[in-house]
Symmetry: C2
């Protein structure tokens, strides 16, 4: 079996993978070198049609589901066994790069091609999936396709999401599905069984690059809580109101922000605390603000620490800040996911034995479709480094060698999980 997985890794056509990446980046290409391909827009639909073509050329059967997720399937020796699935998403940020998501789909395609061309007969079928609307830019929240597939969100609520122009996810998905149907792509149900799911992705962070690692075994996905803090004071004239008579919402918000950040400061540098939005009203140079609203994005691999920090945050907010009151709302919460040894072990062994590659273990700081798949089947992820850890930006970048490393590791992992007949 190790022989077969190493063979699959070696059979990856990294030149073709790089061509595919360049070609896909043309769909939604930006003048600044970035990619803006929003979920279910014309370029995203074209990307799906192109993927279907590639799959068929390789001898895959193709299917779609009601959330416009697209699957390519390479038959296994035992078609009664659930498939080993890989994939990611093809939509991007409006000013995004060519690799976030797209790389996972195209490297999956490259892995299936390698298995096919090396004539490796796996017991289980192999599939590549492109999940719909991971980014959540055009329709919010994101990870729509994977969330509907596993059932953590209903198709109805997802279809009702609307974009900035009032077009619903449902309308956009129907239009996309009609184009796929015209190409003879049949529809399948959600939640079809999977033997395992492995998502390959750029790290979107600096850890692997700083460690000089070629790939990483992702051990899970951090839990994340989003909070909104609203600090309420009294608007007044900046020139005429003595300090003692003020209830300055901005003063309270800054002091509270500093205090919250201090609480989240851990020696191990594992907890991630970010205030990303901060707005003040009336936002006038000479008016004391009556309201300041800011968000906190709090992440930690440890659920107990997330809970403890939330309790501390609520205690702090219950106090008075520059005479102002504070309201805390939890906007969302996703519990940490720990990937099972069955999958992380397969990735680690493929790295070590098939590729002689050191692949450190790390948690994912970002969401991925894998967070939902983890509820559905044994799931894991592989990361490759990206330049300066940058993503969601036109400057997002990987080298052809890095693209090859990840695709080879993915191919070997898939063969290990799918077993050679």
């Amino acid at each position: 079996m190790p022989d077969q997985s190493a063979r699959a890794a070696a059979a990856v056509d990294s030149r073709r993978l790089w061509e595919d990446l360049r070609n896909l980046a043309q769909l939604g290409a930006r003048a600044d070198g970035g990619v803006g391909r929003l979920a279910l827009d014309e370029n995203d639909v074209k990307a799906r049609l192109w993927l279907v073509e590639q799959g068929r050329a390789l001898g895959c059967s193709v299917r779609m589901d009601a959330a416009a997720n697209v699957f390519l399937r390479l038959p296994g020796g035992d078609e009664n066994l659930p498939p080993v699935v890989t994939g990611s998403h093809m939509d991007s940020q409006p000013a995004g790069g060519a690799y976030d998501g797209a790389y996972g789909v195209l490297a999956g395609l490259a892995a299936l091609r390698a298995v096919h061309e090396a004539r490796i007969a796996t017991r289980r079928p192999l599939e590549v999936v492109a999940w719909t609307n991971e980014e959540g830019v055009r329709f919010s929240p994101g990870t729509s396709g994977s969330a509907c597939f596993v059932g953590v969100r209903s198709l109805e609520e997802t279809r009702a999401l609307t974009d900035g122009e009032g077009i619903s996810f449902g309308e956009a998905a129907d239009a996309c599905l009609a184009r796929l149907e015209a190409q003879g792509v049949p529809t399948a149900d959600f939640a079809t069984p999977m033997s395992a799911f492995v998502e390959l992705h750029i790290e979107q962070g600096p850890v692997l690059e700083r460690a000089g690692a070629r790939a990483g075994v992702v051990t899970g996905i951090q839990g994340v809580s989003w909070f909104e803090f609203t600090v309420r004071g009294t608007a007044n004239h900046a020139g005429t109101t003595p300090r003692a008579a003020r209830r300055d919402a901005l003063e309270g918000a800054c002091a509270l922000a500093v205090a919250l950040r201090e609480q989240a400061r851990d020696d191990a540098d594992e907890t991630r605390f970010t205030i990303g939005r901060f707005r003040v009203s009336p936002d006038s140079v000479n008016t004391i603000p009556d309201e300041a609203v800011f968000t906190v994005d709090l992440r930690d691999p440890d659920q107990a620490r997330l809970d403890a920090l939330e309790a501390t945050f609520r205690d702090l907010a219950a106090g008075e800040w520059a005479g102002c009151s504070v309201e805390v709302t939890r906007l969302s919460r996703i519990d940490p996911v720990v990937f099972p040894d069955a999958v992380t072990g397969a990735v680690a062994e493929a790295a070590e034995r098939d590729l002689c590659m050191e692949a450190p273990r790390l948690m994912s700081g970002a969401f991925h479709d894998a967070i939902h798949l983890a509820r559905h089947c044994p799931t894991g992820m592989i990361f490759i480094p990206c330049k300066d850890g940058v993503s969601h930006h036109p400057a997002e970048s990987i080298t052809p060698d890095q693209a090859e490393d990840g695709a080879r590791l993915l191919a070997a992992t898939l063969v290990r999980l799918a077993e050679v007949a």
Copy 2:
């Protein structure tokens, strides 16, 4: 002479003043009870035409100047002497109240009526002026009329200011002047000599109300500096970037804001420090901000203290804040003004001797047209309390008794300054 000034105070028709306030508030009345009368808009023009009518009914000569300032003049015993002038502005904030500015003009009219009806013959002429675009909302910066009148800004640069719809101050002023000209109002030069200028205004702060005072002798206008601080870091993913790898512009901005505020904290509670605008980019929940921009409105009666604080602010900004660099820009600076004893003394004596009123001395925290007039002639101001110190808001409020107190004090002050023949 005290007899005549006390007689003038007693002759104020406070009922009619209150009616005038109610009538003027109809021009630009808002559904919420506030007033939105922007500079040189249809309501502001109508207010000028109405003021001209009132002046003529009282036997005043009227005139206008190229900035659309309107003057009513009650003759004095010696028409060769420069007049004693009072007045304020009639434009308001978009969601303003009925008293900020308008009260000073209408109480001036009431004072002239009182002098006229009590047949008090002053040596110097008495004038009421309505200055154009004090608020600076439609055309920014404000205090346009008084700034052009005294020559601190040129008419040319003021005429070039444009509103949100691309209409210039010059076009709007010309249209207003044509309407006034059609009523036979002649044009006069800027910078005509004045013997004194006294502006009556609501305090727009809580000091008099908290002291239980009916009026205040304004000793000067605080100096004010406006700064903009731009904190620059690096945008990155909130979930994937360890704390040690961050340069978080919001973290730096909050820490800097707290430090600046601490430096401006004086025991006497005279320095006013306000951060009114605060913006962060890209303003996304899960992105570490790469830029945070905030303003500081800093006021102090003491020029040396303003200078020292500016130097301290620049020293602080030269440091590193959460790894970020900081740029400081001074947006504007107006030096403090101290009103001369000749005028503050006349106000204080009128309060004490003519009205048996305790009128504490206080600095003005807000700008007023008087800040420019102080460069032109001996200038002073009178404040009356307003409810909760609130202004620039539909809730801005004074009682009829308070309106009467201020108008009586103004009438007595004007007679004292204009001398009885």
